[in-house]
Amino acid sequence: MKKVEATVARIASYIVNEDLLPGKTILMCVPAFLRGVEEDVSMVENNPTVVIDCHSESCGSALMGLIGIPPAARIYIPDVVSQTGLIAGKNRQVLDPVGNQLAQEVARRVAKAGKWMLEEAHYNFEKRKAKVIGQTLCKFSEEAVDSLNYIEVEPAIYRPKSMPPLWDGWPGIYER
């Protein structure tokens, strides 16, 4: 939450949750997950997760790698910035207009991935249990993210190699 990009990710999540896919998405609260709040544990175990990574530290992806639940997709904000030329702006409390535009672009990509998972009959998500025993936090490791073996689905949208294809699995047919 130190960087403005964190506010961009937060606002993008609200745009998806309230405006683009209302009633079809839930927001994972990381502190509540670690606490063991049942709703937050079961939502990531039983549903595909889209991670929004704000920057190269990739905290969201690393946590999912750590608990053994690969995200179904990942939106990488630095790529959205390069692709669109939009920046996060300077205001963390309330985003600047340009930051809001960036949040809209991030949200659009999250919703695209989410909509695919919700609507495609081929999409096959397998439930997984989170690894919660004998865990290590606060130890930086590249491995946590590298182990996900992300492949690019389209600019700024990735999925772990081990997870079901999105539209990248159906080139030329399902591109939208």
Binding site: A32, L34, E38, Q93, T136, C138
Partner: protein
């Protein structure tokens, strides 16, 4: 000056409206009220293992802003075997002030903004006491992040951290330093 800096840990949640209040309070403290005296803790970077974030919670006293009854901020500190210097519990502040987080998460409504400011002002008073009272001391702690059991809701966090109530919405672990400005005679509340 007793401590160089105080760390503010807004709970870091996203779903509940009150998480926007703790975040806003953190930004008010860092950007407006106490620019050089405080630094916000980013819990996502902490659990990721970023060295600057770990150093922050080890070296400086932390005030946790727990947004809801799950007390996730306090829970994370318990999990990592460190103690906050103090904790502000937002449900108590809501009861005290009759201000509510409101229904808007993207930008807080008037009531949510006022609640965030109340939280920030109470926290600022605590920070000033820690920074300015010669009697206030903080001993550095060590984060222990190995061999953890995550998602264990059975733990009674308030008991595990030994919280005692100092004033409405203000708590500290029993074995941490008394809070200047809150615990001297005639200054409670």
């Amino acid at each position: 000056m007793s401590v160089e800096k105080v760390v503010i840990y807004p709970c870091g949640g996203i779903g509940l409206h009150v998480s926007c209040v703790t975040r806003q309070a953190g930004y008010l403290l860092e950007e407006e009220l106490l620019k050089l005296d405080v630094e916000i803790l980013d819990m996502h970077r902490l659990i990721r293992g970023m060295p600057d974030e770990i150093e922050l919670v080890e070296r400086y006293p932390t005030i946790i802003l727990d947004g809801c009854a799950h007390q996730c901020g306090s829970s994370l500190f318990w999990l990592l075997k460190i103690k906050p210097a103090a904790r502000i519990y937002i449900p108590d502040i809501i009861a005290e002030t009759n201000l509510f987080p409101g229904r808007a998460r993207k930008v807080l409504e008037e009531s949510g903004q006022r609640l965030a400011r109340e939280v920030a002002l109470k926290t600022a008073r605590m920070v000033k006491g820690m920074r300015e009272s010669p009697g206030y001391h903080y001993h550095s702690q060590k984060v222990r992040g190995d061999d953890l059991t995550l998602c264990d809701y059975e733990v009674d966090v308030e008991e595990a951290l030994g919280y005692i109530k100092i004033a409405p919405g203000v708590y500290r672990p029993r074995d941490m330093n008394p809070l200047p400005g809150f615990e001297e005679k005639g200054t409670e509340g």
